[in-house]
Structures are given as C-alpha cells and as structure tokens.
C-alpha cells in the first residue's frame, strides 16, 4: 500500500509541476501583447513633413531621426511605469509615441499651425466643404468632428462654425 500511495503522491507532484512549467503561449489564455510596429503600419493614414512619411502605428525611431531635433520633447510615465508616452513638438505639429512590443510606435499627430497641410491638402482654417472634397464621404460625424478610419488609424477633423480648427491623426489601439 505504501508503494501505491507513494506513486499517487508522486503523480500529483509531477502533474502540478507539469502544469506550471508547460510553455503554454500567452495567447492561449486570450492575451495579446501587440503586433510588431511594421505589421500595424500596413494600412494607415500617413502624415508627411518635408520628405518624411509619418505612418500611424509605425516605428517612431526612423521618423524621429529624419525629422531632426524637436523644438521640445514631453515625456510622461504612465501610472506604475507601464510605459512612457512621448510627445515631440515640431514646427506646426506634435508627434505622439507610445511603447508597444518593445518599440516606440507613432500614436498620434496633431496639427497646430494653419501653414501646415495634410498630404491631401487640408489646412486649419479651411471650410468644411474641403473635407469631403479631399477625403470623400466615408466619415462619421459627431459634434462637428469628421472621423475617417483607415486600417488601424483614424483621421479626426474638428470643425467649429463650419471651419476646420483641428486635425488629428491617431493609431487605433487594438
């Protein structure tokens, strides 16, 4: 009997250890740790500054290098150090990044200056008729904000009194 009991105990220990050590991938439990930056950037809105394309959800490092020294950099640790969001200020726009999958990816572009236009030609101060002319009718409209979605990115065009007064590109969190 002692032998049987020993085998049962040993089997229980082995089963316990196996459960803990089995390399079940995290996604088996439904967790997603985020796709790589290049995967996210496959289809997204692109903002252009000079010769630099800024792709929502793309790796920020080459973009920040290409744009040169920013006028200002704002860094904010999220609560409990779950990532450092950064906002780089350039002439006429701000570029936001956040960490994802080990790299800082581009999370937003916010246009600040009427002298800056989107690659399609929209500028702050334009009449709202320019929006549909340049971007079509595939938008949702809420409180004067026209939202266009492309892949994992969104272009939000804010209007007040029929005039474009803010333009924001964002990467859509997955």
């Amino acid at each position: 009997m002692r032998g049987i009991r020993g085998k049962v105990v040993a089997a229980a220990l082995v089963a316990t250890a196996a459960l803990a050590a089995t390399p079940v991938p995290a996604y088996a439990w439904g967790f997603s740790f985020g796709a790589k930056a290049e995967e996210k950037a496959e289809e997204s809105y692109v903002f252009r500054s000079g010769e630099t394309d800024i792709v929502m959800g793309g790796d920020s490092a080459p973009v920040v290098r290409a744009l040169g020294t920013p006028l200002d950099t704002f860094e904010a640790d999220s609560c409990a150090y779950q990532g450092k969001d950064k906002i780089y200020s350039y002439s006429g726009f701000e570029l936001g990044t956040h960490p994802d999958g080990g790299v800082d990816v581009i999370s937003s572009v916010y246009v600040l200056d009427p002298a800056v236009s989107t690659p399609e030609g929209l500028q702050l101060g334009d009449p709202k008729s320019e929006i549909t002319k340049l971007y079509g009718k595939g938008y949702t409209l809420e409180n004067g904000v026209y939202r266009y979605v492309k892949g994992s990115s969104e272009l939000a065009i804010y209007t007040t009194g029929g005039i474009v007064d803010a333009i924001e590109y964002t990467a859509i969190a997955e």
Binding site: M1, I4, R5, V8, V9, A11, A12, L13, A15, T16, A17, L19, A20, A21, T22, P23, V24, A26, W29, G30, F31, S32, D72, F74, A76, D77, S78, C79, A80, Y81, Q82, G83, K84, I87, S89, E94, G96, P99, Y110, L112, E142, N143, G144, V145, R147, A156, Y158, D165, A166, E168, A173
Partner: protein, 360 residues
Amino acid sequence: MRGKKLGGVLLAAAVAAAGLWGLTCLLVPKYTGRVVEGNFTAEYYREESPHDVLILGDCEAYENISPVTLWREYGITSYIRGNAQQLMSQSYYLLKDALREEKPETVILSISAMQQAEQSNETYNRMTLDGMRWSREKLEAILASRMEGEHLIEYVFPLLRFHSRWAELGGEDLTWFADRPLVTHSGYYMRADVRPAGTFPAERRRSNYEFEEKAYEYLDRIRELCEEEGIALILFKAPSLYPVWYDQWDMQIEEYAKAYGLAYLNALEEIDVIGIDFSEDTYDGGLHMNVYGAEKVSRWLGPVLQKQFGVPDRRGDAALSAVWEAKAARYDAEKQSQEEEFARLGYLTRFSGDETGASD
C-alpha cells in the same frame, strides 16, 4: 481497503493543492522593485486600527495626499485605497470591501477616473484585483472591470496567468514567497524626488466630453452606498497639471455634486491657496505631487475635513496615537532616506531605469 484508498486520494489531493499553492506563491509577481503598486490593495488588510476617512481612486488619490500629515497635524485617521488606473467600478467594490472591515465617517473619492470607464491595460486590473481578499465584492469587481480576453478562472487560479514567469524568477520571488514588504504609508505612495513642471503638449480637442454611462453608474453606486451607510462623500480633483482636466469635465462634476448635495474639492483651482510650487512639489513634471506637494495638499484638506465635515481629532486616544506614531516614524525614515539619496545622486535608484517592471 476502501478507507485506505480514500485516504490516498485525499492525501494526493492535499499534496497537489499544496503544490499549486506553493507554485502560485512562487510565480505571482511580487511588485517589490520599481513597480510596487501591485501590493497596494492587499496592504489595507494589515491595518491595525480603524479610519475616520477613507480615500478612494487612482494615482490622483494615492500620490497626492499624505495620511501621516493628516494625523500629525490634525489627528485625522485616514487610509487611501487607491491603485494605478483604478476604475470607478473598482473604487466601488473596494469601498464595499472596506465596509466589511470598518465604517469610516467620510469618503473622499478622486474623480479623475470618470474619464475612463473601461480598463486599457490588463496589468492595472491585476495589480488592483489580485490583492483583494476573496469575497462577493472581489468576484463582482473582476466581472465589472475585466478586459476582453481576461478570464475569471485566471483570477481564481493566478498560476494560470503567471505560470510563464518561471523563466524570469529572481531572488525576490523567494524572499517574498509568502509575505510582502510594506510599500505604502497608509496607502500613500511616497516620492521625495523633484522634477519641476515644464511645458505641456497642446490641449487636444475631443468630440465628446460627456463621461461614459458606466462611470456615472458606479459614481451613483458609490454615492448611494455612502448614503445608506451614513457616510459623507466628498468628490476630489487632485492638483495635477497633466493630462488636461477639461472644463467640460469639471462642469459635469460640479453639476453632479450640486444635484446630490455633495462637496466637490477641486485642488486645481486652489493651487495658490494650497501653496503648491510646481518647481519643487512634483516628482514627474507636474503629473503628480511629490511628498512635499502631498503634505501641502493634506494641510489644505485637514481643516476642511474638520471644519466642514466634523472629522474628529483622535490624538487624545492613546492606542491610536501609538499606532500612528509608529506609522509616522516609518514615514519619516523613508522620507529622510529618499531625500539623502536624491541629494547625493539627483535621482532615486529604485525608480530609475526604463524597464516597465511589469513583472517585478
């Protein structure tokens, strides 16, 4: 024979359960490094005496008010049940959980969490919920705030979530196998380093400034629970300069407070009265107060609590005084240690580095 077989089965089950318990203790994150927030919820149960004031909320609650200062200068006993990105639903269930232990006279609720009704990062949920004692409140808190892809079973058996940590086990996993160090001061997260506030990004427009229905639902539930229990509820906004606290949000809280006869203390509007100097009183550029700023906020809050809400001065109670003197001594020691390190290095080693520390 049948008895012996049953005995063998029971023994095997007991060994398996003990093994699972041991592995769980070994593999769950210990939060004793750079990230300590995962220990906040459980630390509350180690309290030895009741509190007249309970403070609930996210980082705006646990980084901006010093309970030791409230005690030392006003004899107010308080505790902060706050966590990183603690949702309104989680504040509600943590309040219900606390009411099983004690009945405070006043609850201060940080309302910054109104801007986010759903959790955005699983780690925040784990840090807030794993430390709760098992109860109906914990179960409901999990169901109310879990993210898509999070499963109840992983909260019941944390080993299912953290088993893959075996590859990154370190010394602290053995040191803190079954216990944890105290990481807060009555729920307050102390920082004695200084990083002055600079410039902030442009205020971004939003298409909708209305708080979400779910946030209101749990604000209602907190208010109703306080009413049922005869607890005074105070809505509180910390003096954080960033992220932006929009005027439209402020107006909604003002209207809510007015509609239900609640006090709303917006420290952002009292920065001069409080005496906050953002070149000295913040450790992260204006997002949160450091210990100097938190003490100033507490010196502003203390008289309000006593004059407007009649929170008593307990310094005449010998037993409470003994408890709080011990807390104050520990608080002073950590403050001095952080001050010396910051003066010497210009930063605090424990909080430096770029890693997220998610698996600390």
